[in-house]
Symmetry: C2
Subunit: 224 residues, 2 copies
């Protein structure tokens, strides 16, 4: 899950299960705090998130951390490079996953449909990451957080009368490390959006979007 508002034809991965004629591997489940894999692990499986939220992170030697992505339902995680995982992957909530053998991605034998679907997911991933570059490199703190909330609202928000509600299972520092900010700046920016009546903070992990259009405007750089 990346967060810059994309100009894509198909902005979001479908939450529909991948077409798959081959017998499916058993669904996997994770508890909050459990790790699905670590950086450097050999890749044996890719996973499509069925429900729940994952966090993919990467560490710098001096401890600086970057959250590479959040894995929401429909997302596929675990793409190998040189056969290895290149992020850590932790469950933020209860998570259900549909595993696919790495071999289904890397050699189409077995199930051409599945091979094709996994490849398309990898290509969509590249495009989404390019969007995210723009956000990390070129957007202000307000634009970043507004983009983040806006995309989450569109993708996993729930209607709440005239408003929209989103659940944020991740911590403020997860959000900061995703957007290239500090926790303090994330917190201050939340406060600022709340004081502008654009959002309300029901509790730390539940945000209500009161003025989606204004939020979208901020995300795209209209500075008011």
């Amino acid at each position: 899950m990346y967060v810059t508002i994309p100009c894509d034809i198909a902005p979001f991965p479908s939450t529909a299960p991948l077409a798959c004629s081959a017998p499916k591997a058993a669904e996997a489940r994770l508890k909050p705090g459990a790790y699905l894999y670590f950086e450097g692990d050999e890749v044996e499986w890719l996973y499509q998130v069925t429900s729940g939220v994952l966090r993919l992170t990467r560490l710098l030697a001096d401890g600086r951390r970057q959250v590479i992505a959040f894995g929401y339902p429909g997302d596929i995680v675990g793409f190998p490079a040189a056969g290895l995982h290149h992020t850590d992957c932790e469950a933020l909530t209860d998570v259900r996953l549909q595993p696919f053998r790495r071999s289904h991605l890397e050699n189409g034998e077995g199930d051409p449909e599945l091979h094709r679907a996994l490849l398309q997911a990898a290509l969509r991933e590249i495009s989404a990451m390019q969007d995210h570059f723009m956000m990390l490199g070129r957007k202000s703190a307000t634009e970043k957080l507004a983009s983040f909330l806006s995309v989450l609202s569109d993708r996993v928000g729930e209607d709440l009368g005239a408003y929209r509600q989103i659940n944020l299972p991740m911590s403020r520092s997860d959000i900061a490390d995703f957007l290239g900010l500090t926790t303090e700046t994330v917190s201050r920016t939340f406060t600022q959006l709340r004081k502008s009546q654009i959002i309300a903070i029901h509790n730390i992990h539940t945000i209500i979007i009161q003025r989606p259009t204004a939020l979208r405007g901020l995300a795209e750089g209209s500075d008011d």
Copy 2:
């Protein structure tokens, strides 16, 4: 070409041509300033850079620009998402390219070896982009520029006695838009590296690296 120093087993794409038993398409050539494709174009071909340098960019509505990557020999550019190009691609120098039909990536028919090689390139791309997130989100101006020069030195630098020389065909503002900085900051940072005797600026497009180890140190955050 991304620039955070990666921890990969195989950090750089091979400059060797992709294995290909199928008859090859004719080599393509571009003059400096020529565009290979634009954002939104239908993808018909992917290209492996044989010689020269490409620049891949993406624009925001208000004109802010992000340079997504530079395409150096060995790199493969033009991965489609939903069948379309998602960046503009311009030649910075004379460029020679080996084209591959998109169908070779998307359905292995014809040449399984080539299919496999293009897929692996896409997966390597994902990993390299994840490294670049870390740089955009978490590194200072000095660390960014030092990383940039360090990786270019390793990848396309030439020995010059005890030193190493690199050619920078791109403008300062290209570098700025790649690293998420302004041209002024890039320029100031060059000056600062020059005054520290870490690099010498032979001319705007030719940098001599006098102390590669110090440069590498700066790239990785040792702050001296």
